[in-house]
């Protein structure tokens, strides 16, 4: 058994830095006299000695193993997601291009609007197709498609699971 803790250690226990405190607690956990003296100043200090109780090593090893598996699983999932994200973006850009092409073709084939159609035609909105990218957040895209008086909103998001 090493020497007992000094009187100053007990008097200034609350002011000790973490290393000095840990050292005092470790000693007191093995020394009845110092433990009694520590606890005599404040019985709740007995619980400081809980710091000296080691966690069962086999439980810590199991934590390492479980954590390692979980990180591997997350890493694989992340690789999978990034591959899918590239495919998703390519597909959505291609689709947008096809839709824009079809709308343009339809506009060229459609007759010009007559001047005497009156206010009804004017209220029906633009007589041509228009594709607008409303928002791009992360991997999600929202396309606003106007064809004649019809509006189609298309949402592309790899995380949407239908």
């Amino acid at each position: 058994m090493s020497e007992h803790l000094s009187a100053a250690t007990f008097e200034r226990f609350d002011e000790l830095d973490r290393t000095a405190r840990a050292s005092a607690v470790e000693h007191a956990s093995r020394c009845v006299a110092c433990r009694d003296r520590l606890v005599a100043t404040d019985p709740t200090r007995a619980f400081a000695l809980l710091a000296a109780i080691p966690i069962p090593p086999e439980r810590l090893d199991r934590l390492d193993a479980d954590l390692g598996r979980e990180i591997d699983r997350l890493s694989q999932r992340r690789v999978g997601i990034s591959g899918r994200a590239v495919a998703f973006i390519a597909a959505s850009v291609a689709l947008a291009a096809v839709v824009a092409g079809l709308v343009g073709e339809r506009d060229r084939a459609a007759p010009a609007p007559r001047a005497d159609r009156g206010s009804e035609a004017a209220d029906a909105g633009p007589a041509y197709g228009r594709v607008e990218l409303l928002s791009l957040s992360g991997d999600a895209q929202v396309l606003d498609l106007h064809v004649g008086g019809t509006q189609v909103v298309m949402i592309f998001d790899k995380d949407l699971d239908l």
């Binding site: 405190r21 009845v32 606890v39 005599a40 019985p43 439980r59 954590l67 990180i71």
Partner: protein, 202 residues
């Protein structure tokens, strides 16, 4: 012989995706994280679940860690928040164990206490019992101060509260625990015969 990397170097390497650096960081910090979570939740299994969640969060968020603050402070903050959540969830499921349980004994270890060493099981049982009477924040403050040895200013940063609030929680926690010891565990405090002035001291 090369010096082992310090925590800051490991954190930087792990943030860059170095898995071995992260594993070493876990190895250095795991016992502290499990012990803190264990004393807050009162259950070793819950503490291990908390610890796994804490380290997963650290792995996923290391790139967002602000190195102007101590890594341990950040780690304690994640740990305490997760442990308090776990404590509240268990409370909603039916409460913290108020009586000694085999799990409490497992925390302290099943081996008999060698002569002169502290009776781990008795101490752990007493704390598990009495700390159940503390509010989660009081419990966290007491664990960080008395068991982990953090100073009130550091605890204030960990919990995001004022140092004066930390001191107030600590006073309340000590008062409740002291009353509990006197009422239920008088044996934790030395008796008059073992408290004789100067006896076997220094």
């Amino acid at each position: 012989m090369p010096q082992p990397p310090d925590d800051a170097e490991l954190v930087r390497a792990a943030a860059a995706g170095d898995r071995r650096a992260f594993d070493e960081l876990v190895r250095r910090k795991r016992e502290r994280v499990v012990r803190t979570a264990c004393q807050i939740t009162g259950h070793l299994d819950d503490a291990l679940d908390v610890a796994q969640g804490v380290f997963l969060k650290v792995w996923q968020r290391l790139d967002r860690y602000d190195s102007s603050h101590a890594f341990d402070t950040w780690l304690y903050r994640i740990t305490v928040n997760a442990a308090i959540d776990s404590l509240r969830t268990r409370g909603a499921r039916g409460g913290v164990a108020l009586v000694p349980s085999p799990e409490v004994d497992e925390i302290a270890g099943a081996a008999p206490t060698p002569e002169g060493e502290i009776d781990r099981q008795a101490l752990q049982r007493a704390f598990a019992h009495l700390a159940a009477g503390l509010a989660p924040r009081q419990r966290a403050v007491f664990v960080l101060r008395e068991i982990e040895g953090l100073d009130p200013e550091e605890i204030a940063v960990v919990l995001g509260i004022a140092p004066s609030t930390v001191r107030n929680h600590l006073l309340q926690a000590r008062r409740i625990l002291r009353e509990g010891i006197e009422r239920h565990y008088p044996g934790l405090v030395p008796g008059p015969s073992r408290r004789a002035p100067g006896e076997g001291r220094e």
